[in-house]
């Protein structure tokens, strides 16, 4: 059964409709790459999935349970975590505090991720553990938001702009970490501009255009469609 099943999802900001009937399914442990040009609705889709876009219609099932109208905290407790665009590190909290405030056993009491394991995954964060969130570099911030999401022991992590604005070496480290998270069986939906990195990592790819899914398939299938790549990704 799907971990996350989205049916005819529409999302609105006031009178403006941004998502126009999205159908999507994510299996447990699956990695889905979500792509599309600027302003096509990727962020809006991720924020709708975790309940942060208030006006959403259609149906979202999380592990078979209808969460279409659920508030973000209920969806998060249902096993979804968000690594937002712009990262959303709490600047007034230290690194440790950012992690500890989010700590929670997952569903069925799962406690795979602890502070120690996050520090093992990101040794850099251990070094910086008493620094304030406002003192971190972009890469460190991204490590912290990923670590913070893991502290909730989620079944699926939504990662928006995984490596945006990061130096190539730092970006490579983030990709390696996502690979390790994937190996732990955590499902992910990843938005990023790096088509190649995403293709290596993802089980499936979906492309959004003007609030609709215009392509869905494996990275291999996508690579075989140069006109789709050209038109929707500019690759």
């Amino acid at each position: 059964m799907s971990l996350l099943a989205v049916e005819k999802l529409e999302a609105f900001y006031g009178p403006i409709q941004v998502l126009r009937g999205i159908d999507l399914a994510l299996r447990p442990g699956e990695t889905l790459a979500l792509m599309g040009r600027n302003g096509m609705g990727k962020t809006t889709l991720l924020r709708s999935l975790i309940g942060l876009v208030a006006d959403r219609r259609g149906r979202i099932l999380l592990d078979g349970k209808d969460v279409t109208r659920a508030p973000p905290e209920a969806i998060a407790r249902g096993g979804v975590a968000l690594v937002p665009e712009g990262r959303g590190v709490f600047a007034s909290l230290s690194v440790v505090e950012n992690l500890v405030m989010a700590a929670r056993p997952g569903r069925r009491g799962k406690r795979a991720w602890t502070l120690d394991r996050i520090f093992e995954l990101f040794p850099r964060l251990r070094e910086r553990r008493h620094n304030g969130g406002h003192q971190l570099s972009g890469g460190e911030q991204q490590m912290l938001t990923i670590g913070r999401a893991l502290m909730t022991n989620p079944d699926v992590i939504l990662i928006d702009e995984a490596t945006e604005g990061l130096a190539p070496l730092v970006a490579a480290e983030i990709w390696r970490t996502i690979e390790r998270i994937r190996a732990e069986g955590v499902a992910t939906i990843i938005v990023d501009k790096d088509f190649r990195a995403l293709s290596r990592l993802a089980d499936r790819a979906a492309i959004l255009s003007k609030g609709e899914i215009v392509f869905e398939g494996t990275p291999g299938e996508l690579a075989a469609r140069p006109e789709v790549l050209e038109r929707h990704l500019g690759v």
């Binding site: 973000p72 905290e73 975590a81 968000l82 709490f90 007034s92 505090e97 950012n98 500890v100 929670r104």
Partner: protein, 290 residues
Amino acid sequence: MDLVSFAVQLLNGVQYGLVLFLVASGLTLVFGILGVINLAHGAFYMLGAYLAYWITARTGSFWAALVGGVAIAFVVGLLLEEIFVKRLYGRDHLAQVLLSFGLILVLDEIRHILFGKDVHSVPAPEFLRGSIQLTEVLSYPVYRLAICVFCLAVAAAIFLVIQKTRIGMIVRAGAENRDMTRALGIRFDVVNRYVFAVGIVLAALGGIVVAPISTVFPGMDNQMLILSFVVVVLGGIGSVAGAAIGALLIGVADSFGKVFMPNFSSFTIYVLMAAVLLWRPNGILGRREI
């Protein structure tokens, strides 16, 4: 003014400021975290004072009043949040002002029915009743010193909870970015309920500890409500540390104002507020810091 009477005035101001801080910290927490303007905050200060009077009269023990008063205020806070206040989240300030003004009227009417309009006094605990002789003519009541110590202890506890506990981290995170905090699974419906109850307890505590030095009377909440708002605005809305600074400033200004300009004593407070706001329009510690 000689040094000893100066010291006494200063001590009075600090003591008053510390009580103001207790009450105002509750107001600023509720405003900063729940986003609710609670005009009835002063009424809970009065509630504390009347509980102190009532329980002390029944049991003969001020300590019973302290513990019982806090417990009752906490439960009242939880119930009011559940029944009324939670409906105000995200509503405009007019709705909040109307509801909390309604609460003032109801609480005051209940006070009137239960206790009438008499002025009551509350005896201080036995071992705190003496005074310390400073000079031949000047002495300082032990109970006032005890208030200072108690308020400082409560202030320390508030800062410890905010800075060192997970609840404090959640509260700070929520003040900074509410959506992100909720997306991590934090239930602000629960957090808000306890924060509101703690805010009410802080107001009531103020009323309980001053009961033995100020007498308990109808309308005692008015002055406190206004001063608490002054403190909150002065310190920076939502900032507990700011409220501490603001409360001490107001306490000391009030104390010396009464000595140097007895006819304009409340005037000094507002001059101070205007001066600070000209210098820092968002209050001493501005926004977004707890």
